[in-house]
């Protein structure tokens, strides 16, 4: 007897992990987001080039500013965080004790780059209007 061990997503996300836990979640969202996006993007472009019309509708989605901001978030966070992971893995003996500081630095870098990108998307969008 006993309750099942299943951890519902709400409980998992409700766990009070620290910065690295959040980074892990976002990294995963980013990676999966990109993988789906790239697949869709490639296939739809391919379809378009082969004269199928489905590509068009999807392209509208890709070019919409909210989607662009989302996918930029995925790309930039995943890339920057991925670099952090890789460096910590390789130089773990030296760097891991400082993981909190390193993540703080990572956020600064990310916010700068992503902020730039977001502004650029919004500016373009306004320019087009």
């Amino acid at each position: 007897m006993g309750l099942k061990r299943n951890v519902p997503l709400s409980a998992a996300l409700g766990y009070k992990g620290q910065g690295p836990f959040l980074a892990f979640i976002l990294h995963r969202v980013g990676g999966a987001g990109m993988a789906i996006f790239i697949t869709m993007h490639v296939l739809s472009t391919f379809a378009e080039m082969r004269g199928l019309a489905i590509g068009d509708a999807l392209n509208k989605v890709y070019t919409s500013p909210p989607f662009q901001i989302f996918i930029l978030f995925c790309v930039l966070f995943h890339a920057i965080n991925g670099l952090r992971i890789t460096l910590l893995d390789i130089f773990h003996a030296k760097l891991m004790p400082h993981y909190r500081k390193i993540i703080a630095v990572e956020w600064v870098v990310f916010i700068l780059v992503f902020g730039f990108a977001a502004v650029s998307v919004v500016a373009t969008a306004i320019g087009r209007m």
Binding site: G31, M34, I38, T45, L72, L83, A117, T124
Partner: protein
């Protein structure tokens, strides 16, 4: 005292746990660094070709990520020819294949996290590999024929 000076402890390659998983763990990190390499090449190339005057920040990022001529079509780039050279198509293909291998394996990792049954994990691999080849074919077509 002599007994203290132990020989350096190293485990031979075949016995240190160099499994498929371990190998792919290394592969993920190597491809991560390789992608940074591609991005750097893309960025430098773009700047050399005058991107700073002709593109927005986001457009530069898009190009650097996959330097496919399609990625500069909607920009203010005057002359598309240098951007569509075989060199850039090769760089784009390299980046694309690296990212695809990395990404598809990443998806396998995510699914493996949640699916513990042997058959589930096998299906995960079959489907992912199939996706890999389909998307690879389509992607290379897009990069080279566009």
């Amino acid at each position: 005292m002599n007994a203290l000076q132990t020989k350096p402890r190293t485990v031979p390659l075949s016995k240190r746990g160099m499994s498929f998983e371990t190998f792919m763990w290394v592969f993920t990190r190597v491809t991560a660094l390789a992608m940074y390499g591609f991005i750097l090449v893309g960025l430098i190339g773009a700047i050399a070709m005058g991107a700073l005057h002709e593109m927005t920040f986001v457009e530069v990022i898009r190009w650097a990520l996959v330097s496919n001529p399609g990625h500069v079509e909607s920009t203010n780039v005057q002359d598309i020819a240098p951007w569509a050279s075989a060199f850039w198509r090769t760089v784009a293909s390299g980046m694309f294949l690296t990212a695809l291998a990395h990404g598809i394996h990443g998806v396998i990792v995510i699914v493996d996290d949640y699916v513990a049954s042997a058959s589930g994990r096998n299906w995960n691999r079959y489907i992912s590999m199939a996706m890999f080849f389909v998307v690879m074919g389509a992607g290379l077509y897009v990069i080279w024929k566009a």
